[in-house]
Symmetry: D2
Amino acid sequence: MALKIEAEEMAAFLEEVFPQVRGMFAIDRLDEELLVMRLLGDERHLRPGGTVSGPAMFSLADVAAYVATMARIGRQALTVTTHCSIDFMRKPAAGRDVLAEARVLKLGRSLSVTDVLLFSEGSPEPVAHASLTYAIPPAR
Amino acid sequence: MALKIEAEEMAAFLEEVFPQVRGMFAIDRLDEELLVMRLLGDERHLRPGGTVSGPAMFSLADVAAYVATMARIGRQALTVTTHCSIDFMRKPAAGRDVLAEARVLKLGRSLSVTDVLLFSEGSPEPVAHASLTYAIPPAR
Amino acid sequence: MALKIEAEEMAAFLEEVFPQVRGMFAIDRLDEELLVMRLLGDERHLRPGGTVSGPAMFSLADVAAYVATMARIGRQALTVTTHCSIDFMRKPAAGRDVLAEARVLKLGRSLSVTDVLLFSEGSPEPVAHASLTYAIPPAR
Amino acid sequence: MALKIEAEEMAAFLEEVFPQVRGMFAIDRLDEELLVMRLLGDERHLRPGGTVSGPAMFSLADVAAYVATMARIGRQALTVTTHCSIDFMRKPAAGRDVLAEARVLKLGRSLSVTDVLLFSEGSPEPVAHASLTYAIPPAR
């Protein structure tokens, strides 16, 4: 499925709609198969010991599912998260960025379901696994 | 079940283990039946329009489940979230604090399950509903 | 919120739309506040030891959320489960029926969210806790 | 990771511990990378229209996660499901078997997390997506 928003335009769109998270996330890859997003190092999100906090991982999974959905449906500001299930499976490695791999499993008229795996950069085993549902407002 | 940590001591404990969230949360009530936690207003967490963001609601649910569990098992720093399912059901009211009501549904030897309802202060209908599992490290 | 379908009519409706589960479930209580459904004893659903299986508990939670939603929106045959999160917390007691207490947390135009607690009859501690989302088809 | 139970032995083990589901499931593939299980056609599980019911899909996901875990840890009869999150995304195709692809994302000492995708045989788009946690009893 062809994307309606490419990586560069998406980064600008994110800064516009979520100015409060400016500098927190970067898009490493965005194509029809896969989105890879990076949670940039930020002292605010660290637990003692230098690992990334659970809420910061949730935020990364949430924005990744949002971006993967928006890339397919185009700018729809009223699209909102209705559900997230997230398993925290391993402690993220200290001092390394966390990456999200997001795949849209379903894109319906009124909702999307996105699978997200989170990794510490350079490690093959996922630190967390999430499934997010976004509600898409009815087209006018 | 008698609590091992009361509200005042818990507030000090939270500041000690999570200094990065200082000033974000307050304990309104903590007893054997119910914990009520408050997400304090903080510009960082607001979406355009003045409502509380999804990640901030996740953080509140997560810390509420942690506090409810800790109050029952005592200080166990290695207790970690292993799962969260959260439904976002309504937009929080602008300009009002969000409150979490947490009830521990199960306290086993190796895990706890906590039900959390989130409300905009003064509204009876929940804005979100979460279930969180914490893994409790084996006793020495 | 006034119910559109009362208990007796609901029981007949269930038999009509799900003939394959005839005799599996009974409605103990159905009013605006709470639905209580009973999973009737049935050898098919038992694990060795005489306790109710996980899939049978899932079925009970699913049908309870369906009934609680239908009671509020009226007969809409195309209403379908889109999500279930379920925590299995305790082993059900052998030889006792399992009861579901279902509460509709949100009834929107396109989806409902229902909280379901499952108990072994006569025990105060829940054996399982579920949250189910049903998608409601657009009104014509 | 080498498997401790191969497909043929696993099929016999399933019949032994869950005699009530005899003939419901078959193992199409079981190796270190992937488990594929098949829900065999069975009138009991069908919805009007000939499609597979939600509870039957839950059962398939649950047994697939059980088999994938058991294959890695060996026979541990007390291993039990503690959580399942499942998204139902599409209606299964009428008259076709449903297949589950299960991948173990984490195998810890006390719990496993397994990702399961369900498909109608011959269709590339998943009908459901589940994540299941099994609690593994402490080794003696």
